[in-house]
Amino acid sequence: MLETLELDGKVIVMTGGGRGLGRAMAKALAEAGAKVVIAARTQEQMAQTVSEIRADGGDAIAVRTDVTDSAQVDALVAATVAHYGRLDAMFANAGGGGGVNAEFWEYPDDAFEEVLGINLKSAFYSGRAAAKQFIAQGGGGVIVNTSSGTAMRGNKNFAYPTAKGGVLSLTKSEATMLWGHGIRANVIVPGFVSQGPPRDEQDAAMRKQRGSFVPVGRLGEWWELGPLAVFLASDASRYITGNEFIIDGGGLAGGLGPVGFVPTHEW
């Protein structure tokens, strides 16, 4: 049954693969046998991920891509097929902050557009380009999007969660629209997860402090996205589509009071 976890020979694109969770997922996928195409804007960061994968004996290339430009996303898939001959999974993982600090009633159009472009349109472009290729090669294939726990609750910094909420909805619709071609779509929803090892002692102390607000008592670590990425990319999840995979240290299962609030009342 567990042979279904093997990714041997599968070709997987990871957008936002130059750092953080994208890099961690790309490395886990390569370790499970996949050939990975790293897409990001920053050349040095992509090169770092590729060299780390190759150092572990894996197979990876980098394709510089601005995922907010649909032509570049189409070119990314074309470059993947030109190099590896096919595409088996698309991780639409690129995303990030952007926007501005402003009151809601003063929030400017262009800042909102920017956040939607980075986080939501990018996921649409990536899913669309992948689906086109999946269908052209005879169907099958997997889309894995990255949303955010902030999408599930209210937030003062609204633009990012709004875009990530769109990613949740996009995933469900992709699952519904694309199964006719054997394509599955699921979404990873990280809570508070650190992007890599702490930079210095101060950074470590800040993480410890932030981690105290999470039910498990710590922040998640970048590598913890890896096993989930492998599961969702593989045939081990073949009866799962349209679903959310929350990895958040228990945060979203709770949230009715601060961690440490433990009511007691006896009859």
């Binding site: 049954m1 567990l2 042979e3 279904t4 976890l5 093997e6 990714l7 886990a28 370790e31 499970a32 046998g33 469900k172 699952a175 519904t176 199964w179 809570g191 997860v193 039910p215 498990v216 008592g217 998640g220 670590e221 590598w223 913890e224 890896g226 096993p227 989930l228 492998v230 599961f231 593989s234 081990a236 999840s237 073949r238 009866y239 799962i240 589509t241 349209g242 679903n243 995979f245 929350i246 990895i247 958040d248 240290g249 228990g250 979203l252 299962a253 709770g254």
Partner: protein, 260 residues
């Protein structure tokens, strides 16, 4: 053994309760494939014991330890005694999967007090008792443990005639969420697997009922699920890379919950 990191359960001691549920049996087999020793519990000393013994033999042939127990899950005390015996005989307890499942579908006006009590006993109280006892055992471990509860997507949707069963599975959803908050600091993780329409469920998907057959085409994938499609998720949820996942219920439903 899977090549992917964090799916290796070598040396882990697992208990699966409710192996008469094909999902439970598949999870036990998957745990063994991943390297764990597995105690198999049937709910009653009936014909299922024979099937469980066959599974135990299969697991032993893989080089793992496996034994069959009968666990009356309707009484907390019985769950505790049998679980302690298992932990003693296996040499510890790292992973517990709770998979009892007994369906009932009748108009609410026809469900008797006794039936309601029994539906809760088998589909909710059982999970409560198993979880309670598992936590007691896992608190003895330096590295905590992982609990996986197998329930149904009915825990989050309504369906005619399932008032009792859907309420029990809904209660199970919130058991998982609540307990996750309570034991998070002890490195004990608890998550659920919510099954959609599965190919063995003739109790709810009657092969002779056209409407029921239409229901199996309701998920995005337009088919019922199979037991072996449940095993790998349970291994993920019991592995070493899942310490930041707790309090969640993951559907294995072919996209059933996405139907508008």
């Amino acid at each position: 053994m899977p090549k992917a990191a964090h799916f290796d359960l070598t040396g882990k001691k697992a208990m699966v309760v409710g192996v008469e549920n094909p999902a439970g049996a598949a999870i036990a087999r998957a745990y063994a494939e991943a390297g764990a020793d597995v105690a198999l519990c049937t709910l009653e000393p009936d014909a299922h014991v024979v099937t469980a013994r066959k599974l135990a033999k299969e697991i032993t042939a893989m080089g793992r330890e496996s034994r069959v127990y009968v666990m009356d899950v309707t009484l907390g005390r019985n769950v505790q005694v049998t679980t302690r015996q298992i932990a003693k005989e296996l040499g510890g307890l790292d992973i517990v999967c709770s998979a009892p499942d007994r369906f009932l579908a009748k108009p609410i006006g026809k469900i008797t007090d006794t039936e309601l009590a029994n539906v809760f006993k088998l589909n909710f109280n059982s999970h409560f008792f198993i979880t309670r006892t598992a936590i007691g055992e896992m608190e003895k471990n330096e590295d905590g443990g992982r609990i996986v509860i197998v329930t149904s997507v009915l825990g989050e949707r309504g369906l005619p005639n399932t008032s009792a069963y859907a309420a029990a599975t809904g209660a199970t959803y919130n058991l998982i969420r609540s307990v996750s908050q309570e034991v998070a600091r002890n490195q004990i993780g608890i998550n659920g697997i919510a099954l959609g329409w599965m190919d063995w469920q003739s109790d709810r998907i009657d092969p002779a009922d056209d409407e029921a057959q239409r229901a199996t085409r309701f998920p995005i994938m337009k088919r019922a699920g199979a037991a072996e499609e449940v095993g790998p998720l349970a291994v993920y949820l019991s592995g070493t890379g899942v310490g930041y996942v707790t309090g969640q219920i993951f559907p294995v439903d072919g996209g059933l919950l996405q139907h508008l």
